[in-house]
Symmetry: none
Subunit: 213 residues, 4 copies
């Protein structure tokens, strides 16, 4: 084995990402405590000891996994904020579509489950997720709702609770897929759910609505 081989150099730089990727899989499957460093190392294709060249502790790896998953969401949150001038129905359809797409292409659902499950053991992570993802996204949504109320687009009401009305079903769908589908429950078409729920909640929130007798 020759030191300084370029193949190694390049791999070294990629290592942390590979480890986080492998760790994400194992944590998602087993949860934090039941995940074994042996398995993470094996899936990352390195030795167990090598993990400690890149991370201090197992908790560190866990933190990296969760924080890494925050990044794409931050982008999404930024997206929410910048589109904030659209009419609310258009904005909502756009945002929900984006959320569903991100969930479909990343392991975001699995990470959400991890954060939920380990929130008591890793309060800082729950805090990070709250502060940098959930709260900001919810804040953006609340802001858009407040403005839409001011414009008379949607009916009055606590915009934070309205935001729950909007996002909750999608979150429930994600949890369903992560929790019950693997144990035999019928699968769920998250996109169809988002589409139908969007129209339902838009009608429900619209101000210029008249219910006939």
């Amino acid at each position: 084995m020759q030191a300084g081989s370029p193949k190694w150099r390049r791999r070294s730089e990629a290592r942390p990402g590979e480890i986080v990727q492998a760790a994400l899989e194992v944590f998602a499957e087993k949860g934090f405590a039941a995940a074994k460093l042996d398995e993470i190392a094996a899936r990352a294709g390195i030795s167990k000891g090598a993990l400690y060249l890149y991370f201090e502790t197992k908790e560190d790896i866990f933190r990296a996994v969760v924080r890494e998953a925050v990044a794409p969401n931050l982008d999404m949150v930024e997206g929410l904020l910048t589109q904030a001038t659209l009419p609310f129905p258009d904005l909502l359809r756009l945002v929900i579509g984006r959320i569903v797409k991100v969930i479909g292409t990343t392991r975001l659902g699995a990470v959400a489950k991890l954060v939920i499950g380990e929130s008591r053991n890793f309060p800082e992570l729950a805090r990070v997720w709250h502060d940098e993802v959930v709260s900001r996204a919810l804040g953006a949504m609340t802001g858009a709702l407040t403005r839409a109320q001011a414009r008379g687009e949607i009916r009055p009401g606590d915009p934070r609770l309205q935001a729950f009305s909007i996002v909750g079903p999608v979150l429930m769908g994600v949890i369903w897929q992560e929790t019950f589908t693997p144990v035999g429950a019928s699968a769920l078409d998250l996109e169809a759910l988002a589409l139908q729920h969007c129209e339902t909640v838009l009608t429900g929130l619209a101000s210029r609505v008249v219910m006939l007798p």
Copy 2:
């Protein structure tokens, strides 16, 4: 030590319940793996060894905790089914109110979080919860929605997805309280959420609705 001291009277009949109660607290705080039998025993006011007079293993205790939490839900589900002849809006307000009340008076939310977090390590529990709680409740809701559609009370659409639209925000509220409130997020008034969402979704699902330009 005085003979006949009431403190030491045999409580064997109450013990399993006390243990499950103590275990619920510890599991809810730590998750399955991080929960220590020492602490469960201490909170139950008995020795570690005594746990094994009532349960075979730690997993057994966990199962008991989860199964015990199922019972009150079964009653609630039965309640749902028997009220099925009411007009849908009345039924929904009734049911949602009941759900929120149960959640407020039991540790159901904590158990739900446990089931979600440990679903990969205890698939049978996820299955039990799916079969005996989630699926039945969702089934009842779907049935009521189907009938309401037939009666022309609510608009057409996949009733299962409509059920997600109805229940999702409440579930999200529960998760919020269990996950983010303990780490500093602003508390959530679950009852207000339920109330407002009920009206929103009822409007959104109603068939006799006209959106004005």
Copy 3:
């Protein structure tokens, strides 16, 4: 349940013997360490706590089992000694027959196995057995051999080693039955072994023997 019931009184007196009997079975099956007081109590038909009304510790029960098994052997040893005036072949046939009979009607073999297996953990028991059973029996045999040598009945030689020649095969037969027969080895006719070995060793030890070319 009436205190002082005569049925109980009589049982109480028989209890230690019943316990020792039950313990013998369990110890014989499992060895000392793997034997559980629960099982001994169950087989004796009493509660675990009641064992401590008759014995101080588990070791105590074990000691009682082993010592109890000594008694019938002491009788046998006495028998050996009193018949010591017979011609040696007659004496040997008598004694070996008696040994085989005792082994066939008691759990002596099992106890021997226990003593052998636990001799390091219970040196006093090994000592008791040596002093009160093995050594005395061997001493009696050695004495008889010495006298038979003096009478010219059997050929000269270390009488202790001759005693091993006589007894060894029977002991081996007992061990065989206790160790290998339960795991599928073909059973052994201990009586036939004793009979044939008796004649073989009597010929081998006889002084008036001529080997033809």
Copy 4:
């Protein structure tokens, strides 16, 4: 678990042997249950955890100890078989001498005691010993006796029982040394026993023998 990977991974070559050696000592002194992994590890000069790099469980270590002791015996058994063409007396003297030598240079006696004592808890080990050591050795001896009977060298009789007559005293001597010598009994010269018994039993089994009145 890698398919096809040999059960004995690349390990420090000497370690397993050192562990087995240390374990043999501890098991021989305490028996299986009373032997503590702490002590085995200490005597092997490693930590308790390191044991599990080489063996799965305590039982595994025990099995290795017993199986390892089988190997030298297999060689001995083969030796018996290949010398089978000698005249019986010469063969017997050769074989017995070899047995005594092996016993004197190995801890075979201690292992035999272990197998006897734990035969109920580890039936497979008793079976292995029966099938691969005792049965084969006894079979070889029986075969030699049968041929010797056919040649008219020794008198008729059940050859299996004759084998017991031959081997029993040596086994008894081994057990004596392992069981009673450590608790104060006078030591036994196993070689002298073997020598004298050999001549005794050869005379006893010889066909061309006449007993004078």
